[in-house]
């Protein structure tokens, strides 16, 4: 999406709309039951993945959606399914918390408007000029990320593997096997 066909305004507005939807879903997340909280969390993750894809990080956005929605949300779903026995009370007093969150959100919006840079006009866009290297040899996103991860810093991949192995052994120990 470096070279827009629809003009600059469309993707800027889409970006802001996605961001505000994500923040509003986080605010509503507080005052709802468990399953709705999970659904709103997934909605927030999907919105952030779309934001990453708009910023040209295609691999990262799709990986966020796959990992969070496919793995971590299913983990939460299993825990809610195994532990929710219908005894959890419904809260009527969460409206006050939601009002607090809305107040803080509007406060942050006001701060965002005040402390923004004065030159950032809404109609003048300077957008992602690639450097000279990337104009001569154009790697895609996943190619350069793979070069960084596997050739630049290969030790971190091994350390993450050891971390996940320790997590596996820890979960087996916790569950008594």
């Amino acid at each position: 999406m470096k070279y827009f066909f629809f003009g600059f305004m469309f993707f800027n507005m889409l970006y802001f709309i996605i961001g505000f939807l994500s923040i509003i879903s986080v605010i509503i997340l507080i005052s709802s039951s468990n399953i709705n909280r999970l659904a709103l969390l997934i909605l927030s993750f999907i919105m952030v993945g779309l934001m990453y894809t708009i910023l040209d990080f295609y691999f990262l956005g799709l990986t966020y959606i796959i990992v969070y929605v496919g793995a971590i949300a299913i983990l939460f779903l299993f825990v809610i399914m195994m532990t929710d026995n219908g005894k959890t009370p419904t809260f009527n007093n969460n409206r006050g918390l939601m009002k607090q969150m809305l107040f803080l959100f509007t406060l942050f919006l006001i701060l965002l408007i005040i402390f923004n840079e004065p030159n950032t006009n809404f109609f003048i866009n300077e957008y992602y000029i690639p450097s000279f290297n990337t104009e001569i040899i154009t790697f895609t996103d996943i190619q350069s990320l793979g070069l960084l991860a596997y050739l630049g810093y290969p030790l971190i991949i091994i350390l993450i593997g050891i971390l996940l192995w320790c997590v596996l052994i820890g979960i087996l120990r916790i569950s008594g096997l």
Binding site: I27, F76, D84, T88, M101
Partner: protein
Amino acid sequence: MNLIASFGFDFGLIKFLLGLIAFMTISYRMDNLIMLIIALELKLLGIGIIFVHVSFLLDDLNGALFALYLLPLAGAESAIALSIYISYYPIRGSMLILK
């Protein structure tokens, strides 16, 4: 500074602070324990948003690589915590924070 990048910094900061406020307020309420892990996930997501926007602004992929390394961190943390919840659920009898 680019408009998108500055919006992204503010957005990541807002998300981190919303997760922080949710964590601090819910830990003093009679609420579900899973909400604490959800708030932690929100905070990690905010940090990842800030990393990705830094890497977009500087035209450098190291920030995106850090955001990629946040994924197994969040997965490991939530897996350990949820397994502890599951194993202590028969002793506690409920998932409420303050009984």
